[in-house]
Amino acid sequence: MKNKISILQLLGGILVIYYIAPIFSLVFWGGNEYGRISSMGGGISSAIITSMSTSAMSVVISCMLGIPLAYFLSRDRSSLKDFVLFIVFLPLLLPPIVSGMVLLTLLGPGSIIGSLAASSGIELTQSMIGIILAQVFVISPFIVISAKVGFDSVDEKLEYASRSLGKTKIQTFWKITLPLSMKGIIAGAMLAFARAMGEFGATVMMAYYPRTMPTQIWVSFITGGIGNAFQMTMILLVSSMIVIVLIGRMGKEIGGDYASY
């Protein structure tokens, strides 16, 4: 019996090692093959700025649109709810490259919306706007879902109690429901921000320029191999890990664990 358990532990252990080894390997590679690392100068900082600003903007837009939707999904009892929930999961489970393609058919240069926008001087692709459009499509479901989980966790009794104390529905939302769901929403927004920073497939199809960090890594890699993409990768890796740690802390504080996300 002891023996069988050890085999199971071995199998699990292999997986854990397979998760961390590549990350150490990247750092190790950097230390070892220092000479092959080339600096891209301005490319790095402009990619960082592009990624940071578009990701932040996408999170803000997703919150504005997603939180009301989440409240509806949490409180509505009609059958419409199930259907909307299904739709929210579409972009979440769609391959990123497919998301990019479908967005292009809707917003690309040849499309009605795309041409209309272009004639008013707004470029929906190959622009910051294009990046944001792709990111919102991909990340907003995370915000909707974590806000919904947050709203679900607020006992409706508290809302009834608030209203029996004379507060309206809207007052109750701002004073009771939203504050009590806030941590979940913030954790969701952080998660969404991390996803936006790392999103590649959909973004690269909507906007090859201006380059986000993932696009910059891709371009550097295909033009100059690992050494060329190393610096950018390290930066993105470190910032992703910071977000993971923050979400983890957040998760503990709100009493859940990562598995809630």
Partner: protein, 345 residues
């Protein structure tokens, strides 16, 4: 004053009402088993659920169409509904209230020392007090309590109940208090309404509903009871003779039980055992079992030819207690005034 007029509310298979009820400046306890519709009643009074038909009048206003916040009701829920992101004081201040009111309420409830605590740091009993204080300070026209003590441990609950009644009497707001716990009902209520299957089948003082339950469910929920099926043998005025086969029992009929077969309720405490008997409402039975129950012994008796066994409570200091053994024949007396005809529903 709360006036409920022909209220009907259906929920899936369950139907509440048609229900009529008037609550004056009193504490009305709604006592009923789970599933009898107590919470549904609270919900329609407060506006959490909408009525199908009928009217609800609070004070002098028809509020049936109003939303919760405009009805002038406060609810204290079964489980804690304090706002967890606020302190005790913030919870109490949540309803717009003057400094003066707050001081008064804090004083009544004796919660001054916990005002700055966070809600999570309170004990069950403290939470209860704070929630009640919060409900009362908003000056509702009617206070709805949905088993507010049921989340507490039994000993704590027993200790809190008398205090709760004192406070509720002191604030002079009409109260509807819903519970399935008769011990609490006796302790709290001015009047008790027995609820069953969405309707109210009896309403009266605690003594009345305990001593004279009118339905089987009322007999069962107000205390242990022998519910005995008997034949109706003779009627004259409100006197009845009932019984089984050769056995006759004289009883007083408070209500019609006109069928040939009726149900009679008698509390195990009211039946008398004696070493000698005879005469009206005395008969002989055999002891089937004697079980120690703490404050008393529960004796189970069989009367020859009677299908149901009869449960009798015997006090610990009964003269014959040592001799009440399995198999013994003993005289049993059913006092005339302790028996009630109870209806099916």
């Amino acid at each position: 004053m709360l006036h409920i007029k022909s209220v009907v509310k259906s929920l899936g298979n369950f139907l509440l009402g048609p229900l009529d009820l008037i609550v004056e400046n009193e504490i009305l306890v709604i006592l009923g088993p789970s599933g009898s519709g107590k919470t549904t009643l609270i919900n329609v009074i407060s506006g959490i659920s909408q009525l199908d038909s009928g009217e609800i009048i609070i004070g002098n206003e028809r509020v049936s169409e109003e939303s919760i916040e405009n009805r002038g009701v406060s609810i204290v829920f079964q489980e804690d509904a304090l706002f967890p992101h606020m302190t005790v004081l913030e919870n109490i201040k949540y309803a717009n209230s003057t400094e003066e009111d707050i001081n008064k309420i804090v004083d009544i409830f004796g919660i001054e020392h916990i005002l700055d605590r966070s809600v999570g740091a309170l004990s069950g009993g403290e939470k209860n007090r704070v929630e009640l204080a919060r409900a009362i300070i908003s000056m509702p026209k009617i206070l709805l309590l949905d088993e507010p003590l049921s989340s507490l441990d039994y000993p704590v609950r027993k200790k809190l109940a008398p205090d709760l009644r004192k406070i509720l009497k002191r604030v002079k707001i009409p109260v509807v208090y819903v519970t399935h716990d008769r011990e609490i009902a006796w302790e709290i209520g001015d009047r008790i309404a027995i609820m069953s299957k969405g309707g109210i089948c009896q309403i009266g003082t605690p003594e009345d509903v305990f001593k004279k339950p009118t339905t089987i469910i009322a007999a069962e929920i107000t205390g242990e009871s022998n519910i005995l099926r008997m034949e109706m043998k003779e009627k004259s005025g409100n006197e009845r003779v009932v019984g089984w086969g050769p056995y006759n029992l004289e009883i007083v009929a408070e209500q019609n039980g006109n069928e040939e077969t009726i149900h009679v309720s008698i509390r195990p405490d009211d039946i008398i055992l004696g070493t000698q008997g005879g005469g009206i409402n005395w008969m002989e039975g055999e002891i089937i079992e004697k079980i120690f129950k703490g404050h008393r012994y529960a004796v189970e008796l069989n009367i020859e030819g009677v299908e149901e066994n009869i449960r009798v409570n015997v006090p610990l200091d009964h003269n014959e207690i040592k001799n009440l053994k399995k198999g013994r024949e003993i005289w049993v007396h059913f006092p005339k005034k302790s028996m009630q005809i109870v209806l099916d529903n």
